[in-house]
């Protein structure tokens, strides 16, 4: 992901960093306990829950959410927020579908352009935030509206359906007949993301930026540049999520991803990240996304009324984050 020239001297680990890293690793364990508890309870309540098929389904069902949440983890670590991911997801999906099905471009090219559209939206977010000095909440809120609007303009408000089989292999091909390609892709992205944040200096710099912009800047980090890169990456990932969703439904939807930004933020925060910035892990985010996915799946299997589902999901989010915060305070 990062080129060698991104090695910035200020990101070398020192004592303060090691302690922060240790705390992050601890924070990763909290949500995992919650997830394990949830899995145990649901396996007892529903015999269908712990089957191989169902577990694969859950991973498949959270794949789009997880990809978006991966980008959001980096954004939130820098102390920012990205509300535009749902709209950017739809814009990338519709762009690819339109370029291929209406404009007649080769599908592979349309896929690349769709990803670029996502990256560009992220880049614009980053520039608005760093050069335009907009608070991330406002910049990405504006992008949320603009990207959704453009999606509707391009699609004329209608879904664009029917993609080549090669593209649909993304969801239809299964390794050993079990694990869908889309899930493998998500796992690969998470491994790469985790390695980047832990090992690359520019990845670790994000924690310093989230901890304190001013200190990070004074210690020689190129704060603006790292932030722009982070939002661009989040945009790319939102684009990838949009393409994955389109492959899954065999249709690009103009209203895709509406409201998903809240699930994304919830997944990241359940995973132990702090909205104040400076804390969060990729592994925690995957756990957070799994908690949301497992909960939705389990409530479906148990045939819980849709009214109560909303109550339960809200309560679990509150409980998960509260447990984490209390435990952290005890650690200090």
């Amino acid at each position: 992901m990062a080129e060698p020239e991104d090695r910035t001297p200020g990101a070398e680990p020192d004592g303060r960093f090691d302690r922060a890293r240790l705390k992050e690793q601890l924070a990763g364990a909290g949500p995992l306990v919650g997830l394990a508890l949830l899995v145990v309870v649901l396996s007892i309540l529903s015999p269908a829950f712990l089957s191989v098929n169902n577990v694969v389904n859950i991973f498949q069902q959270i794949s789009v959410l997880a990809i978006l949440a991966l980008g959001a983890t980096a954004v939130i670590i820098t102390g920012g927020i990205d509300l535009s991911v749902g709209s950017v997801l739809a814009l990338a999906g519709i762009s690819t579908a339109w370029l291929a099905n209406e404009a007649g471009l080769p599908f592979a090219l349309a896929v690349v352009l769709g990803l670029l559209v996502g990256g560009t939206a992220g880049l614009v977010n980053g520039i608005l935030i760093t050069k335009g000095k907009l608070p991330p909440f406002i910049a990405t809120l504006a992008m949320l509206s603009m990207a959704r609007g453009l999606t509707l303009v391009i699609s004329d408000g209608r879904p664009i359906s029917g993609f080549p089989d090669g593209f649909r292999l993304l969801v239809n091909f299964r390794l050993f007949g079990i694990v869908p390609l889309s899930v493998l892709l998500v796992l690969a992205l998470f491994v790469a993301g985790s390695a980047y944040l832990r090992l690359r200096p520019s990845g670790r710099a994000l924690y310093a930026i989230g901890g304190s912009h001013e200190v990070a800047r004074l210690s020689g980090l190129r704060v603006e540049r790292e932030k722009i890169k982070t939002y661009t990456a989040a945009g790319f990932l939102a684009g990838a999520g949009g393409l994955l969703l389109a492959a899954r439904l065999n249709s690009a939807q103009p209203n895709a991803g509406q409201g998903i930004e809240l699930d994304v933020i919830a997944a990241v925060v359940i995973g132990g990240a702090s909205l104040a910035g400076g804390a969060g892990t990729v592994a925690g985010t995957l756990t957070g996304a799994l908690i949301i996915g497992v909960l939705r799946n389990g409530l479906n299997l148990l045939d819980v009324s849709s009214f109560w589902q909303q109550v339960v999901i809200g309560a679990v989010i509150a409980a998960a984050v509260m447990a984490d915060t209390l435990r952290r305070r005890a650690d200090d």
Binding site: N57, Q60, A142, S145, R148, P159, R248, S251
Partner: protein, 346 residues
Amino acid sequence: MRSTRRRTRLFAILAVLALTATACGNGDTNEPDDATDADAATEETEATDADDTEATDDETADASDVTIGLALSTLQNPFFVTLRDGAQAAADEAGATLSVSDAQDDAQQQADDIQDFITQAVDVILINPVDSAAIVPSIEAANEAGIPVFTVDRGADGGEVVTHIASDNVLGGRLAAEYLFEQVGGEGTVAQLEGVPGASATNDRGQGFQEALDGATGIELASSQTANFNREEGYNVAQNLFQATSDLAGIFAQNDEMALGAVEAAEEAGLTDLVIVGFDATDDALAAIADGRMAGTVAQQPALMGELGVDLAVDFLVEGQELTPIVPVEVAVVTTANVDDFLPES
């Protein structure tokens, strides 16, 4: 410094606009009478289906004196073009005069249109409001002028309205369920995908489904879960239903988006015999039915809606017929057998 502050303020305004736009956008999903439902249903026959209009054939001399104003929200949408054609045909048959206005989805324009109708002293105004709230002053003006008002498809938030004529979502839910039960062979386990919790379309379509379920003997409801009228959620929830119920024979989805999500999930799971019935008759759903991937859907009948509006208005004026506050319009089940009648001409 100054310019930065000004820029910040500009973006604050933009943000508020964005928020407003989002809020409006979300509202649309819940609306059963939304125009996106509409472009498919262009059935123009079925005059005999209108049981509510027994007196339509009376060619009373008085009917020829009747002038009806029809204030439409837009003629850009084929749904309302078909509605107008239905109204025109009914007016021609009754010998009444029909005057049609097109507000082009502009509430201000519609207020002017209705003012013109009042000036012309039409006998009755049928309104398909651009906006349920913004139309209220216009209805009150018509009330003051002593001109009775009917609303069509979309209702009004206030003013005195004789009756509201709209598609019957309860009937649609029941017909869809009955068709589903018939397709699974009269017995077996079925599931329902619900719309946005609390939305009127969810409640009405769900009520119709429940009525059919209560009347069916061999059918068991395994599960009824929301997928928020959304295709992706339809896919996920259907996938979960397959896990929970291994012998699922059919699914009723309260809109076509969720049904199409269920179709993809069923195909992926290799459940080729699963019967899936949707609602709304969107272009995508009609195509899926024509391809045999989906069993059926429910279509609104705008022509019948227009026809019923004119017939009821004439009856009300000429014979003083009492009307209920809401007149439901029949909907039609689209199946693999009759889907060709509903497919958009290309």
